[in-house]
Symmetry: C2
Subunit: 524 residues, 2 copies
């Protein structure tokens, strides 16, 4: 087949007056009057370049007959905000040439490895919004089908760092943690950050919001303090307290990654190279020198098989070595939710219970007192304390637990909450719990064989989580527990009656608690 066109001959420019339209489309869209569009030979869904005040941005074209007049350009409200363009301003429109990285995407589709420069070009043009959703999806698909080698992965991670914002704290040691996700209630970040910061280790933690889960760390910590921190604020918080828990989406650490993730999510594609570059690029961008990675495995987790978990861990180590990040991977039990509270408010209660020092009045027995998340969190924090030399090998977890028992971790947590703009004196009783409750009781007795992460997430989301901070679930059992008929298996909690009944229906359709069966199958 003949090659594609990288030249489009000379270009003309067109001056247009901006009109802001109160619509949000989640991507940069400009509306041209259809006669203007014809004159420029651009069509719906084409890309066009906007030049203004020394900047240049690529937008996607929609057209209008009347709403946008000739000589005007309509901008969607979210685009105008992101591009920092005001109504009435004049901008210059220029046709954009075919992105050169399309050739490299084709090359990857043709089973060839990409050079560092070619990967950089794909990342750069993605950041500049020059590639369409379909073109990016083709890149992700090609990386998934044909594989993405370690060298390509390292190049992708470095390109992400180069095209995003970086945090240069100028301090040491800087640590970070990561979990590949998939386990409900797994709020170890909120245990690890205050412990490490209390021990003198810097941990500028950025976390995600929920996509399909009941709550992401950013959604949960937001109950305690604002998590939308511009990078300069984040820097100040970390230099002051040594830690933070911020929403990664508010910082442009790896803008290309947000676009790639959106595409990966819809087809549940996790091409390993893209996954690793995404994670490790962001760690590199915050200056992490030490990293602990949580890889939960087991039934209902993202990785079900232990060998797959180990292979993933090995790739993590190889890529992070090239990026000069000392990394330890922990393969953990991910077959059940961690802890008993699911949903932003309930998870905060559980974390604060876990961090409460011995003998504290705040200590609550609710949600098992937070013991399960505390145990996992201190094991992980201890691992980093050992890596950075703040604890002898083998005693990190104990030292971490000691920082909790003595209240140092809770003090640090309050300091971080305050520094991020939250109420440093927050009490467990202040935290939101929805007032609509429904307890699901066991109809039959038996031993619990499985509590399904996905069903738990689905039910909690139906109840309103993560948007409704007081919504979610309280689990009253875990795998191995013996149940008698009438025992409460779990409670659904909601801020609205409608959402509660929606969540109840969801729980009936997808029961999250499974009891052991004596006869598993039958062959006749």
């Amino acid at each position: 087949m003949a090659n594609s066109n990288n030249h489009r001959g000379p270009q003309k420019t067109h001056i247009r007056r901006v009109k802001i339209l109160d619509i949000e489309a989640g991507k940069n869209i400009a509306i041209l009057n259809d006669e203007d569009a014809n004159d420029m030979s651009v069509f719906i869904s084409d890309r066009i370049s906007l030049k203004y005040r020394g900047k240049e941005e690529i937008v996607i074209v929609d057209t209008s007959k009347k709403l946008v007049q000739k000589g005007e350009i309509g901008l969607y409200a979210d685009s105008a905000k992101q591009l920092k363009i005001r109504g009435g301003e004049t901008v210059e429109l220029v046709n954009v040439p075919t992105p050169k990285s399309l050739e490299y995407i084709r090359k990857k589709m043709d089973r060839k490895s990409l050079s560092q420069d070619e990967i950089y070009s794909i990342v750069e043009e993605t950041v500049q919004n020059r590639l369409s959703e379909g073109e990016l999806a083709s890149f992700v698909s090609a990386a998934y089908i044909n594989g993405f080698g370690i060298a390509e992965t390292v190049a992708l991670a470095k390109s992400m760092v180069d095209t995003g914002q970086s945090l240069d704290l100028g301090v040491h040691p800087i640590a970070d943690k990561h979990c590949i996700g998939g386990v409900a209630g797994n709020r170890t970040t909120m245990i690890i950050v205050p412990i490490l910061a209390a021990a003198g280790v810097y941990i500028p933690k950025t976390s995600s919001r929920a996509i399909t889960s009941a709550s992401g760390t950013a959604d949960t910590f937001e109950v305690l303090a604002p998590v939308v921190l511009p990078i300069e604020d984040l820097r100040k918080v970390v230099l002051k307290t040594k830690g933070c828990i911020a929403w990664g989406g508010a910082i442009n650490l790896a803008p290309v990654d947000d676009k790639l993730i959106r595409i990966r999510n819809s087809l549940h594609l996790d091409p390993r190279g893209l996954l690793l570059a995404s994670i490790l690029g962001k760690k590199k961008a915050v200056g992490a020198e030490y990293l602990v990675v949580d890889i939960p495995i087991g039934r209902g987790a993202k990785v079900e098989d232990e060998n797959d978990g180990k292979s993933l861990a090995n790739d993590f180590l190889q890529v992070s070595e090239s990026l000069q990040i000392k990394t330890r991977c922990l393969i953990t039990d991910g077959s059940d939710p961690i802890g008993f509270g699911i949903g932003p408010g309930l998870e905060c209660i559980e974390v604060l219970a876990a961090l409460s020092p011995e003998g504290s009045k705040e200590k609550t027995e609710m949600l098992g007192g937070g013991q399960e998340v505390l145990e996992k969190g201190t094991l992980m924090a201890g691992s980093i304390l050992e890596m950075v030399g703040k604890a002898p090998i083998g005693s990190g977890a104990e030292i971490a637990m000691d920082l909790v028992r003595k209240g140092k971790a809770m003090d640090k947590m309050r300091e971080i909450i305050g520094a991020q703009g939250g109420d440093a004196k927050v009490k467990i009783s202040d935290l939101p719990i929805g007032k609509y409750l429904y307890a699901v009781k066991a109809e039959k007795g038996g031993r619990v064989s499985h509590v399904d992460n996905k069903a738990v997430s689905r039910i909690a989301r139906a109840a309103g989580a993560p948007k409704d901070k007081g919504a979610g679930m309280i689990l009253h059992c875990e795998t191995g527990d013996k149940i008698v008929p009438g025992d409460t298996l779990f409670e659904i909690i909601s801020e609205s009656e409608t959402k509660l009944s929606f969540a109840i229906e969801t729980a009936n359709a997808l029961p999250p608690v499974e009891l052991q069966k004596i006869i598993i199958g039958k062959v006749e």
Copy 2:
């Protein structure tokens, strides 16, 4: 990795009042007030189902704070038109489940063959707008990388027919022709259709508009008659005249194909299975029993190598056999443009010159009298006359040429033009030619070694084709011609001075005529 979710639990419905917004986005978009969107737990870019008057359609969600109030749903003008919804109507909104075909797209990515049912499901959900651009791009990419077998291709073609409109003429024989494209000026359809119709062969021809070329057959024939024919009108025209030349885009022969083609174009991906299904599915949908396929090969053509052309031809034969279409593929010379006029108006002049009977007053020597397109067109028409038994083997082209010489083809052409709503008495002198001309002359002498199809298209487009019907180029030379300095190589023709100068710049950047070089390279 764990599996994706195909269940989302129970669903709620929401009643909304429609507000039409004067914006065209080329896909079905609905704007929800952001509070309503929150209540429904839908986000920007999610899909949602609209139910109204017994119909159900899937739309993509944008949000608005003020333009669309709570209780309203904003519809883009083109969506409202396509969905046949009026402002003020009430519609019911329902959350949509995850499309089941995502699983099959994943399966294709995992190098497995898809069954007929799985392919049908992908096609059906694409037609229903349930798949995003990125999801479809992943399917196309997977088909390109992992291949798409003959059985899959046949299943795809059949699914396209099943999900689109079909033409049931109830007559015989029905023939069709197809060209894989890439050659400028290749207007053989306008020669073949009137010849076959005059010979008593039905040819319900649907053609495309230009994407990157200077003019598609539909763009060109539109100079003579309307080409936007609803399927019922097309049926009437064909039953009356035996032929037609309509724009395929106005008929839903294979709605899924338009979406697939859009994605294939951006990355210049032609996964063979998708290409064949797309072409042959549409032929099947119009009831074609006989088909001739033009596969131009050579430098600058879509297929450069003869063996690639033959392999493509073999696949054409295999798939069309399964679809019960008798097919002949012609490998033709595609290294140069066909004919001398490029652009809608000029191509019409050339075709009418070609069809003019011997001794006719209308006969013009302009553009070589249309001899080049006439010769190719009669060879192809003759091929079909032989296949359907209207000409002895070996004499089809001569019989076709005879129908032209005697004026039968021109009479039929006028009958078709009239039946489609054009002026049956149209004269060559009525046809549009832009009044701004620029002749490009040879600076050096020599033999023409190549006239580049892509450069020709680019220049003609810059001059305003295909939108400006009088715009384009006249070629004054072809490969093999001897040129002396000062000879006119080509003329650029435009309807506007600005576009003319834009086209001149394009021609300077991409000179379309190449002279033979004595020294091709130098190694020192």
